[in-house]
Symmetry: C2
Subunit: 238 residues, 2 copies
């Protein structure tokens, strides 16, 4: 039994996505969404604290879709080249209708205080799930776990870049992005085969060391939603 809360949330999200797809993210206002969902502006904000939160909710849902799609493809793909291509292509498949929304995901990337930043702690769960798919793609290599983890993270990063490319790609059906995936996977996947060989151990160790030292210590998550430094508005809970 879905609660009323959930049903309302769903209705808002569905309505918003429809409008985003049709007009784009910026051209769709929260008032449009609320009106189309048959409720007042405030009600929409009650369920989603910001317009970008709607995109994040969508993205969370899509993560599940990506997992399903990737797993389906993985079942047919045993070698790493095919599995990597499967991981990337299935992501593109899942997002194909929604390039217009995708930009909103990146908008907060450069703001460390934004809870919705792709790199922030607020999205860690989603990030881990996404990274896990790439780890699965690499599974047949049987790499040491530390190596596999580093590679999966690197692939997740590359996948972000790919989405950026995808989003800017005006070729029909984003054919260029599709080809780019094939070319890059074809180029680098064979090299990965060597990543487990003993000769590369020192290199791998060095990369792992560098990435470990580089990884920021998890901060206690500063829940700073207030952009306006002074403008406390009327939120005066003195």
């Amino acid at each position: 039994m879905t609660s009323k809360r959930e049903r309302t949330r769903e209705r808002i999200l569905e309505t918003a996505l429809g409008l985003f797809r049709k007009r784009g993210f910026d051209a769709t206002t929260m008032r449009d969404i609320a009106a189309a969902a048959g409720m007042a502006l405030g009600a929409a904000y009650y369920h989603f604290r910001s317009k970008e939160a709607l995109v994040m909710a969508y993205y969370e849902r899509n993560q599940s879709a990506h997992e399903a799609a990737a797993h389906a493809r993985f079942a047919q793909a045993s070698d790493v080249t095919a599995r990597l291509a499967a991981a990337f292509h299935s992501k593109l498949d899942v997002l194909s209708r929604d390039r217009k929304l995708l930009g909103a995901v990146f908008r907060s990337a450069g703001d460390p205080d934004d809870p919705l930043s792709v790199f922030g702690s607020g999205t860690a769960g989603l990030r881990d799930r996404s990274t896990a798919i790439f780890a699965e793609a690499l599974a047949p290599l049987g790499l040491p776990s530390a190596t596999a983890e580093v590679l999966a993270r690197a692939l997740w990063l590359a996948h972000l870049g790919l989405l950026l490319y995808f989003l800017h790609d005006r070729s029909r059906g984003q054919a260029r992005t599709r080809r780019l995936v094939d070319e890059l996977v074809g180029l680098f996947a064979p090299a990965l085969t060597f990543a487990g060989s003993p000769g590369f151990a020192p290199v791998i160790a060095r990369v792992i060391g560098a990435m470990d030292r580089a990884r920021p210590p998890e901060r206690p998550s500063a829940r700073a939603k207030n952009k306006r430094g002074s403008g406390e508005g009327r939120s005066g809970s003195a």
Copy 2:
């Protein structure tokens, strides 16, 4: 002799940067800027068509600073490892005070229609200048020009990633970012030495081919400033 126009522009930009640095980009309003610069809101907009345009003006200026700083360092650095480190570190030097502004640069990255997007045609000039610095760092290798160009572009891309890391880096003096530069440069620069050797020619050719096919054809620059699909506002020049 600087025109009045230029002097006023300078004053606005300087004031804005001061406020951005102190309070951050979002917390600084155009009204604040105009007031602090001792002029009316309209005057600020007369000189800068948008708030982000201020950031871009700043970025343009910083590009020049980076060129100067990098060249100064290049004069002392002959081997590629040192030159690459110089290129990256000088960029960080130039931006060190301004991490709070940097986020604004990335905000529009995911919007293909935004003239200020780092990947868009509106910023092509700045992008080329920035890429050129990395090409200079590689100069001692004497690589074929096609190879050098591909590598320089790749480095420019990596440098964007570095800025993203820099911006999120909360370590004191962004020490982690500094170390990351050293580690990555130390790791990859030696490998670049082989990029010119005949054995790697086929690999390089393949990468160049992939990147050429992937590069989008320069579009005739759709100067779309109008985000709101329908909202023509009052600009009704029927």
